[in-house]
């Protein structure tokens, strides 16, 4: 069995197994150990690709190169640490009476199902399967968003379902158009026309008019899942109403995978059009999302909503960076994907503990975390400092790279970029300060919290900020060459 098969089969089998035993105490452990197997296999696979270059599976159905293997490893890693956090957290939720056994089983099974869908989306070579897996990721998470069965959560899940469903339907139409263009070029007799490797090899000959039409549909479709403004409405609702581990993986992983799909298609469209149309559209949408989300940060009253707007802001920034193109911006965007995933999932984990301490998600009711439970308070403080882009954390490094790239190619765009950074920073900190330092309300007690994943994530982000280890830098470098066509280092 190849490493790829292990990576994909582990979550699939885990999902099936947890359908039956997910509600037992052992369910949480199975969840963790499945994620551990997945992560181990993905790491070995990553090293393999790093040593031997891209690999194509025997049936040509899977393709692993530097770009997706690092996202596979990241997905498996965040999946693992979130599973470690989720075990005691969900137990606590059951004790609080917010969940029944059946729903816990559903939760565990769908958690693995979601990971499977995302790993499939990342590793598949067939752009049709990519679509199926992205839709699958929606379907597995939609019942998790409404897991608590409150009116708000059902509304959020419905919105998520409808908006993402219709959005991603656009992407399917875009995929059909790409297929159409490829058939015109390659002839209808072949059965491998929808494979990304084939498309990429022949991208230059695809009809530009059809591909630019396809790109519009793909951008709207996958852009809905990335959470680009004005298609973002589902995102804050889904993140704030679902259980916290779900918010962590949605924000840290799902958005990345959707952006990954966009970047893959951008590579095709760029090669066909020979203009930067796709890039300009991504820059526009990205910058709009970035600015609007940083303004909305100021208006939030729910802590998870606030951080989901921060996710929109960062996804906007990455979309902008990939649109900008060039080795420097691409390298920065890849780094930003990594550090954002790590930091944001750490923050959501901390926020989960914080809202269990305060018994609510309302920002004005969460007070005095550092006094009640220093670990959670500090975790939230450091996490927010990291996500706001303070040195020496990795987010600063990547944002600095992006700013440098912007200065180089289109300096006037640095103005809205810097303003956005400032506004977002102010938005986060005006809410953070009283939550962390204020006086705790009487009777507020610490909860059982496992801060290990948070510390691990933040330590990694700090490490990436201080010095990117050379193997990782070369890895990013390989992906940068793949995407932008030229080398940075």
């Amino acid at each position: 069995m190849t490493l790829l098969e292990v990576t994909l089969l582990a979550p699939l089998l885990g999902s099936v197994l947890l359908t039956f035993v997910g509600h037992r105490p052992i369910g949480g452990w199975i969840n963790v150990s499945t994620c551990a197997v997945t992560f181990g296999a993905s790491l070995l696979m990553a090293l393999n690709v790093f040593a031997h270059g891209p690999t194509l599976s025997s049936g040509k159905l899977f393709y692993i190169d530097a770009f997706n293997v690092y996202l596979v490893a990241l997905t498996a890693f965040v999946g693992l640490s979130t599973a470690i956090f989720s075990r005691p957290y969900m137990q606590h939720e059951v004790e609080r009476g917010r969940l029944t056994d059946r729903r816990l089983r559903l939760y565990h099974s769908m958690y693995q199902g979601f990971l499977f869908a995302m790993l499939l989306a990342l590793s598949t070579n067939n752009v049709g399967i990519l679509w199926v897996a992205m839709e699958g990721a929606t379907l597995t998470t939609v019942l998790l968003v409404s897991l608590y069965r409150t009116p708000e959560s059902i509304e959020a899940a419905w919105k998520y379902f409808i908006l993402c469903g219709v959005g991603i339907a656009q992407a399917l139409f875009g995929t059909v158009l790409v297929y159409f263009a490829a058939e015109q070029k390659l002839g209808a007799a072949r059965d491998d026309t929808l494979l990304w490797t084939v498309l990429h090899a022949n991208a230059a000959g695809l009809d530009p008019a059809v591909l630019s039409l396809a790109w519009v549909f793909l951008l709207v479709g996958y852009g809905t899942k990335v959470g680009l403004v004005p298609l973002h409405n589902w995102l804050p609702d889904a993140h704030s109403e679902g259980p916290t581990p779900m918010s962590a993986v949605l924000s840290g992983l799902l958005l990345n995978v959707a952006l990954y799909a966009l970047v893959r298609f951008k590579m095709l469209v760029d090669a066909s059009l020979n203009t930067n149309l796709a890039g300009y559209m991504m820059m526009g949408f990205g910058l709009l999302s970035f600015t609007v989300a940083s303004l909305f940060l100021h208006r939030q009253h729910d802590i998870k909503r606030m951080f989901s707007y921060s996710s929109i802001e960062h996804m906007g920034l990455m979309t902008y960076a990939f649109g900008l193109g060039g080795p420097l911006a691409t390298f920065g965007a890849l780094l930003h994907m990594t550090v954002h995933s790590l930091t944001k999932s750490a923050i959501f984990i901390t926020v989960g503990h914080a809202s269990q301490i305060a018994g609510t998600q309302r920002i004005d009711k969460i007070r005095g975390l550092i006094r009640t439970q220093p670990a959670v308070g500090w975790g939230l403080l450091i996490g927010t400092i990291a996500i706001a882009g303070f040195p020496p954390f990795g987010v600063f490094t990547s944002e600095f790279l992006l700013l440098t790239a912007t200065m180089k190619s289109s300096p006037w765009l640095a103005v809205p970029l810097l303003m956005g950074f400032g506004i977002a920073f102010a938005g986060l900190f005006r809410h953070l300060h009283p939550m962390v330092y204020g006086d705790p309300p009487a009777g507020q007690k610490p909860v059982r919290a496992n801060m290990l994943p948070v510390m691990l994530h933040l330590a990694l982000v700090l490490w990436l900020g201080l010095s990117i280890p050379s193997f990782l830098a070369r890895w990013f470098e390989q992906a940068t060459v793949l995407i932008s066509g030229s080398s940075l280092l």
Partner: protein, 262 residues
Amino acid sequence: MASGFRTFHVRNDVCGSKNNMDLTQLGLYDQAIIVFAALVLFTSFIMLAQARVIPLIYTFAWQGALLAVVTALVALVSNHPHLYISAALTVALKVFLIPWLLYRLAVRLNIRHDAETIKHPSLLLLGGAGLVIFSYYVALPIVRLSGLATRNTIAVSVAVVLVGMLLMIARKKAVAQVIGFMSIENGLFFSAVVSTYGMPLIVELGVAFDVLVAAILFGVFFFHMRESFDTLDVDQLNRLSEARETILSHEEAGAASSEERP
């Protein structure tokens, strides 16, 4: 009549299409494809104006059946046997299974006799007609390039997608929205069939699986919605908006109640 088709002929010449085709010179099956494609779009318009739940579900089933006929005809004309599988899948899923699921839900939720008032129905239909014209415009670059016999119906398939979206936007009932969602899916399948003779089978199976799961999940949602909101009116889903939250927070700041929000 003939002169109308003549313009088509001329345009094809101008565009330099691969095989010089005139609508009147098409084979019988090709003409049948065009007729049935038009009927698919026609069912979309019926759904747009149909206010009652059960006829809406039936119309959806009819759309699936017509789509299956088109697919089978395309399979026959183009000699693509795998399209027969797609057609069979469409019959199983979109003519029987999903309409049956929806019908059963309508019975169990006791909304069989529900009818919603559609605001400005004539405006809605005109909007749909506008979308059809727009989709001809959208499909221009594809049609220009395509040499397939079915290329005249590509724009129709785009129109089915767009009219499905209009249906979702215009309707307030959850059931109607689901029907709109599924008819968008129909349109996408349609576009794949007529523009590329269908996607590879593995992709089509995947998409069909997704659609089936989505239909089941929608059913689950109906019950949850009924439980929480006492209605299937999506207008009632209005708790989560930025403005509302601001109001709530002021109210809560006034009253010192510590309501636990999940």
